[in-house]
Symmetry: C2
Subunit: 416 residues, 2 copies
């Protein structure tokens, strides 16, 4: 029964009732680090503010009333104007034939990943992925309780001869993977582009072992001068590929617009699982208006700016780390995958560097390979060329202080 | 081993590998129904297109470069300008004292609901909710495998005398609910406003039984002339209330911007669970810019338009259904909860009406009360006054054809 006066009590603490097995954030976020080499941020100078503003005004004036309805007048797959742009863009850049019913707009490609995982995975499932990989995918697969089987990557992408052995070995044990996940074009974190021959080999293996393929092409429009082979989705003749992409890397990550291309046998499920009453419409409207006129030219200019930043990064690394740092110069993208000598442990390096305002991704968050702890990922799109240069100088000093390498830098020996 | 030529095969069908226990959407969406009385759509005439366009241009010109970074320069809790606006708005409208660290911007209030559920619920948990309720919450709780215990609602909101009995009965059986969920201000679907006395009673009971409270005030800014009591979050002295709200009902649902107010003992967990790399930033920027200048005047005008539409709806119902339709005139909001006489089954009525372009929410999707199948929810914000009038005329004809009621309408007997 109700007892008056009982409301004088100790404050409630949600810690005591939380069921989710996660660690809470310890404090509110305050600011980005000074030397920020993490996160898929983009180049602020490349944001085409004037044309974006104009595009936004035009589409709002024309269709602003439609904001009164969930999903505008376009239904749960997202703004029809942006899906129409994507049909052309996917054909031009990735050789994909699709129509607007094959496309679902999502709140960033992360929502696409979550929806596909929700549809296709359950605890205990086995998935096959590239050995070095997007940290957000590895953490999700772990969270879902999946068994992660890895295949090494080289400059030609996933080593499909090893994929064949992996699938055969799994098959011999009666295990059919839930999917093969791949980032074939500008692989994260190595930056490699899977060759056409390997793409075809991967698809043939997927058919042979009856496995679906999950293709993530978030970075694929950032190929600079190299040839971009057709997407797996384009090459597939068996309707087993689900393809995702994003506008985060080409236009702006803060907009949170990604997409899925899938045939209806999967799309129907993704729509049932997408219970968010639609993704943000204004951002889709803006992108449709802007991209229809400016995408091609904008991406060309962006890629040129990114290439300059990578050049600044590799110059600074060569100067500060000398032969201590190994990397393969990527043909595009926003990150560099670097290997340091023993005894460097990049998890410890990341902690020490963070204390001095330098943020890096330690290799173990981005790779399951045995020497992951000697790797780090450096994102170069967001910091200015000066910041890149200073940041790498600082990182080399910290690394030398913590691990005694690189001993040589700036053409002279470092002092402890 | 790889076998050349094996790629000639039957097309892959994702139906065969989907793990999620959901039914797929059967076909792509094509268009809204002609007489659309479902969904939380808003009044298109009330969308302030000119001022929204201007606000968007100004904020993009000033801060557009920040779109290059995830979450702009504001961190994972969302655009600081909008959180600052909310601090003032929540104080003015709901008497809530909070600061920007207590606020998390989400992709619609549905993401807020999902995050809170993910933090606080696990399969088998008991939750206490109002008997008639938001369908999206009931379906989520069922999906999560929770036991739903209901408390009836009248014109003063949740009947807290019955809540007391419910909590005592649960306690006697050793059951502590994971939370009490309430929509106290413009309850969905009844439109009622919980009285101040009941709010205090609810909070005292929550303290006594050590239960957290989940307050959903999505519709609360749509109170027309009635007094709006302070939010539960404002009245609570024990830090046990988590509060959510939305801009969908006041500005535009297609924007997908909602929010959570919570103290850090919960907020830290919500941030850990929000793995989407931020909600859409442009919509947050636009809302901050627009609302800071126009929110109050806009909501006043919107409420006047909504009140006119409700008047049109009740006029049409009175004319077409006469005494067959029972409802309580709500003091605000966008929906009317209507009870029809036996033998009407609103699930069947909804199916018959849909075939003729009239969409309604059948009661069983919005209520667990025993006579739910005689109820329906009619959303009146989106259709024009003419469409409301025609749609209700049509609905009465269909209802008479299917169930023989209402026999009287337009002041004369209907013909079968």
């Amino acid at each position: 029964m109700f007892k008056p006066g009982i409301s004088v009590t100790v404050p409630f603490n949600f810690h005591d009732v939380v069921k989710a097995p996660v660690s809470p954030d310890s404090a509110p976020w305050r600011a980005f680090p000074t030397y920020n080499f993490v996160g898929g941020h983009n180049d602020a100078d490349s944001v085409d503010v004037r044309a974006l503003t104009q595009a936004c005004s035009e589409v709002l004036r024309r269709e602003g009333r439609d904001l009164a309805t969930y999903s505008l007048q376009s239904g749960p797959q997202g703004y029809i104007g942006l899906r129409e742009f994507l049909v052309g863009k996917l054909k031009y850049y990735a050789d994909i034939d699709c129509n607007t019913d094959d496309l679902l707009l999502t709140s960033g490609s992360l929502q696409a990943i979550d929806l596909i995982n929700e549809a296709l995975l359950q605890t205990g499932d086995t998935v096959v992925v590239e050995e070095s990989n997007y940290g957000g995918v590895l953490s999700r697969l772990n969270q879902l309780g999946c068994k992660i089987v890895t295949v090494p990557v080289d400059e030609q992408g996933m080593k499909t001869d090893l994929l064949a052995l992996t699938l055969e070995s799994l098959s011999a044990r009666g295990i059919k993977p839930a999917y093969i996940y791949s980032i074939p074009t500008i692989h994260n974190p190595t930056g490699s582009i899977m060759s056409l021959a390997r793409r075809q080999h991967l698809l043939d293996l997927a058919v042979q072992y009856e496995v679906p393929v999950f293709e993530d092409e978030c970075y694929a429009d950032l190929v600079w001068n190299a040839e971009r082979p057709p997407a797996l989705y384009a090459l597939d003749k068996s309707a087993r590929v689900v393809h995702i992409g994003s506008f985060s890397k080409t236009i702006a990550p803060a907009l949170r617009v990604g997409y899925v291309a899938a045939n209806w046998s999967l799309m129907g499920y993704l729509l049932s699982l997408k219970t968010d009453a639609g993704s943000g419409a204004l951002e889709q409207m803006l992108l449709a208006e802007y991209c229809t006129r400016h995408f091609h030219d904008h991406v060309k200019k962006l890629n040129s700016n990114l290439q300059n930043k990578l050049q600044a990064l590799t110059n600074a690394i060569d100067r500060e780390f000398g032969t201590s740092a190994e990397y393969i110069n990527p043909p595009g993208g926003i990150f560099l995958w670097v290997k340091l000598p023993r005894p460097v442990d990049t998890a410890k390096l990341a902690t020490a560097a963070a204390a001095e305002g330098v943020a890096i991704n330690p290799g173990q968050e981005w790779s399951l390979q045995s020497d992951a702890r000697r790797h780090l990922r450096l994102c170069f799109a967001n910091p200015s060329i000066e910041t890149i240069d200073e940041g790498i100088t600082k990182l080399a000093q910290i690394c030398f202080r913590e691990f005694g390498v690189p001993r040589l830098g700036q053409n002279r020996s470092r002092q402890a």
